[in-house]
């Protein structure tokens, strides 16, 4: 089957859940309310670092309408976490950030639960806090986790004291290259904490049944990880935990890790009643899993004609009070610091560091935008200094087909030149007449299609439609509509003939989850495998009945075509009811390419699967009296391998860019003395419709060998380049590089005035 003959895949078809969503009938996690439910709330620390000397919940327990109150004393003393098990349900003896859970309450109403929280007596003795991750690295810095050596961690993770994870990539001899280079540039960049900004807050409902099985309705991205984490916390086998994901109002990585599911489960167990919890905006901004703030130093040696000779980089990601996704996030930054450039000598290091701030997570393309902001800003600084056009210096350095990547892997299906040229052409790169206060910027990057396995079950219904059961959730990206398009294509069905089942870990097959730009790619591959299985079964049945050899059959227009016979799928399905119906399964796993282990140290993701390439370009105006930035145009050229549904791929690009523009210009969780100053959506500034410019998407299709019809991962890349693209465009307009995110009007104006 050739992709260019596809009739369902590759088409701009409306998504399967569109009408339900547009009419308000789609059910989200926040919409689940179980009969007789209680409402849960969490009491959180108002100090950043303190010893918890006393917590008295007796008054709260005695309140009318309060059905459960739990603290550390009421829950199993287990530590959980991804890379490092350094997290507990509640603070036991030490609180480590403002927002650290101390207790939870379930009551008949939310108001009673809130009143009960204020009835809990807490005594905290302040400890010296540590807010600056670089200060936390000092040899004499106090240890935020004095027992860190007792924590269980993934074997790959290297830790020491306040460092929750240290990774390195190295190749060649940077020192020798620095010594011989035409010029060496060194810069430091900082980026801010950014909330994922999903419009549906994290929510959960939990209920225990008479057999001791817990069911949790979650709006998390990774139902199987929620299940596994709950199993850790509750000390139960996973088979006694059922996670149902009704619908999700956006995740963007912010809903990868467990949110409030565990509190709901524990409160439901103590009360014997269902419990529902929804986080508030304040809780989201002080105690969710934001994108880490980072400090990045980059030192690059170049030849006189602008070729990169060596690059040394260090990224310090501020994990906050627990490691969260920090060690992996820091490590992935290393590949982004190299970028899609030939780098003969490199030495990269990431440090994920504890501080007394919110434990952070893995927002869409974790660390990608931070590292890209640093190296792509520096690329332009170098270009200007050497008098080379920013596009030209990139074209001189980009990787080519068959080059080795940073881990020594062979790079395939490399499309970075096409992406750069097409983005540059679309923005009118070569028509940059000097106009005061106006400039164009360009930036490029690469990114992985995350691996991990997917499996699907498909069932052929008696009406010829197919039920698709997968463990991957629909975050909103349209990835499951994309997978359904592939399945429909393979079975000669219409898209509407595919029904996607709701995820319930009781009966769906395992999936590595809706993360890492992998869902349409991986579930799509599993759908192709399942369709092959079903075809084989259908052809065998028809062969037995009609005596036509299976190898001469094909599916067309919802029929098995066998010689001159056309047998509708619906007929075969109904006939097979006596045999238990027709079911098939398919699995997919995209193994990572071979790499050179000598180049990496303690890196959880040492080599990237099926990388994608992309370039962004922007045309901005800067008001030199106020510093205000207006984006006139924004262009993205992204290699998607094969566009399964161009409409929703554009949607991914437009949405990812708008999040990236938020990070570039307006968004930051602001801390002062350990407290968040802007814990509400009035002062946490996500882009409105007036802030997002028209975005032009150019879908480059350089097919991959591994993806369905050649597809590559799409979801995360669009938010990588916006900060660098805007920084470079602002610099083109003003002559100044702002090296800290967000690039606020205030920073620009003060710099224009020559003030620090």
């Amino acid at each position: 089957m050739r992709p260019n003959q596809n009739t369902v895949a590759g088409r701009r078809l409306p998504r399967l859940d569109g009408a339900a969503k547009a009419t308000g009938r789609y059910v989200y996690g926040t919409d689940v309310t179980l009969p007789g439910t209680l409402y849960g709330k969490v009491l959180r620390s108002d100090m950043p670092h303190a010893r918890l000397t006393r917590i008295d919940v007796s008054a709260a327990r005695a309140m009318r309408g309060v059905r459960a109150v739990i603290t550390s004393a009421d829950v199993p003393q287990v530590r959980y976490g991804n890379a490092v098990k350094d997290q507990t349900v509640f603070a036991t003896d030490t609180v480590r950030f403002v927002g650290h859970p101390l207790a939870a309450v379930a009551a008949d109403t939310l108001e009673i639960a809130e009143q009960a929280l204020s009835a809990i007596a807490v005594e905290l003795e302040p400890l010296p806090p540590l807010f600056d991750p670089e200060a936390a690295l000092a040899p004499d810095a106090p240890l935020l986790h004095p027992d860190w050596q007792d924590y269980v961690a993934l074997p790959v993770i290297a830790r020491e004291g306040n460092i929750a994870g240290r990774s390195r990539m190295r190749h060649g001899d940077v020192e020798a290259a620095f010594a011989q280079a035409h010029r060496v540039y060194e810069h430091r960049f900082t980026t801010a904490l950014q909330h994922a900004g999903y419009t549906e807050p994290r929510a959960a409902s939990a209920a225990w049944d008479s057999t001791g099985v817990l069911t949790v309705w979650s709006n998390g991205q990774l139902p199987f990880e929620v299940q596994a984490t709950l199993a850790d916390i509750l000390e139960l086998p996973v088979s006694r935990i059922r996670v149902v994901v009704p619908g999700i109002g956006g995740g963007f990585g912010g809903k990868l890790r467990i949110g409030v599911e565990h509190f709901a489960a524990l409160l439901a167990r103590q009360s014997g009643r269902p419990v529902k919890m929804i986080t508030t905006s304040e809780e989201e901004l002080i105690a969710a899993h934001p994108r880490q703030a980072a400090i990045i130093t980059v030192k690059t040696a170049v030849s006189a004609d602008g070729r990169i000779l060596a690059r040394q980089g260090r990224v310090v990601v501020d994990c906050g009070a627990c490691s969260g996704s920090g060690p992996g996030t820091g490590a992935v930054a290393l590949q982004c610091l190299v970028g899609p450039y030939r780098t003969p000598n490199l030495l990269m290091e990431s440090l994920a560091v504890y501080t007394n701030k919110v434990p952070s997570g893995s927002f869409r393309a974790p660390s990608g935008p931070m590292a890209n902001f640093a190296v792509e800003s520096q690329m332009d600084i170098i270009a200007k200094d050497l008098g080379i056009d920013p596009l030209e210096i990139r074209l001189r350095n980009i990787v080519r087909e068959g080059d080795l990547g940073p881990a020594g892997e062979v790079l395939k299906d490399v499309s970075i030149e096409e992406c750069l040229r097409r983005a540059a052409d679309a923005i009118g790169w070569h028509d940059r007449a000097a106009e005061p206060g106006r400039g164009k910027g360009i930036a490029c990057s690469w990114w992985m299609t995350t691996g991990g396995s997917s499996a699907v079950f498909i069932k052929l219904n008696g009406d010829g439609t197919v039920a698709l059961t997968s463990g991957a959730v629909e975050l909103g990206t349209g990835a499951l509509t994309g997978a359904a398009q592939i399945l429909a294509e393979e079975l000669s069905l219409d898209l509407e003939d595919v029904r996607v089942a709701t995820v319930d870990t009781l009966h769906v097959p395992y999936d590595y989850g809706a993360q890492g730009s992998r869902t349409a790619f991986s579930v799509g591959n599993a759908c192709r495998a399942a369709a092959a299985d079903l075809r084989q079964q259908l052809f065998a049945l028809v062969a037995a009945q009609h005596g036509v050899p299976a190898e001469e059959m094909m599916l067309r227009d919802k029929c098995v075509v066998a010689g001159d016979k056309r047998i509708p799928l619906a007929d075969i399905a109904r006939q097979q009811y006596t045999g238990g119906g027709l079911v098939a399964r398919g699995t997919a796993l995209n193994p990572p390419p071979a790499y050179d282990p000598a180049r990496v140290e303690n890196h959880p993701l040492p080599v990237w699967n099926t990388p994608s390439f992309h370039a962004h370009a922007a045309d901005v105006s800067v008001d030199t009296e106020t510093g205000e930035v207006t984006i006139n145009r924004y262009v993205v050229a992204q290699d998607v391998g094969y566009a399964i549904n161009p409409t929703y791929i554009e949607g991914q690009i437009e949405g990812g860019v708008s999040q990236g523009l938020g990070q570039a210009l307006s968004e930051e969780i602001v801390y002062q003395d350990g407290r968040v100053l802007n814990a509400n959506l009035t002062d946490y500034k996500m882009p409105t419709s007036l802030d997002v410019p028209p975005i032009e998407s150019i879908l480059v299709e350089c097919p991959s060998a591994a993806g369905p019809y050649g597809a590559k991962g799409v979801g995360e890349p669009p938010c990588i380049e916006p900060p660098a693209t805007i920084a470079n465009a602002v610099a083109a307009a003003t002559g100044l590089w702002i090296t800290s995110l967000p690039i606020t009007a205030e920073k620009i104006l003060l710099r224009l005035k020559g003030e620090p």
Binding site: G18, A19, A20, G24, Y198, T199, P201, F252, E654
Partner: protein
């Protein structure tokens, strides 16, 4: 202490007993079971709770239910259903304006309110952009939402032109 309150929602009267501090959003979702109006910030910053009050878009999350007696309330459920989509709903689906969908009920009602406020004009893209600026969407970057609203406005203008034609 709960007080009696009669609300007219999607053309139907509902006799309720409510706490004085309950917002319209709380009543819609918790008492009436109309969950299409969504909850998020609860401070009128995000717009997912938007409903029509006497035809005008308002944030139901900060509107006390008791202030709505005698007024007409329309929620997303009152606009159309999956078999009979309102033109805005159909356009949102067709133009790929729906991703996670959590802001979409509010977005559609925001758009309806604006188009109804300007019945005789074909709004520009910039005007549409401004019209929806009180409703945050994190998924789409707004572009396809604007496409969908512009398409409905153009269709309406076209129809108007046809009707005006001799």
């Amino acid at each position: 202490m709960r007080n009696p309150l009669t609300l007219t929602i999607n053309g139907e009267q509902h006799d309720l007993l409510i706490e004085p501090h309950w917002t319209l959003l709380h009543v819609l979702r918790g008492q009436i079971g109309l969950a299409g109006s969504k909850e998020n910030c609860l401070e009128a910053e995000c717009g997912v709770c938007t409903v029509l009050l006497d035809g005008k878009a308002v944030n139901s999350c900060i509107l006390l239910a008791s202030l709505c007696a005698g007024r007409s309330i329309v929620t997303i459920e009152g606009l159309g259903d999956p078999e009979h989509l309102h033109p805005l709903q159909a356009a949102f689906v067709k133009h790929g304006a729906v991703q996670c969908g959590y802001c979409i009920p509010g977005m559609i009602l925001t758009a309806k309110s604006y188009l109804d406020e300007h019945p005789d004009r074909m709004p520009s893209r910039d005007e549409i952009r401004e019209a929806i600026s009180g409703t945050l969407c994190r998924c789409t970057g707004y572009q396809k939402i604007i496409d969908a609203i512009a398409a409905v406005a153009a269709e309406r203008a076209g129809k108007g032109a046809q009707e005006d034609a001799p």
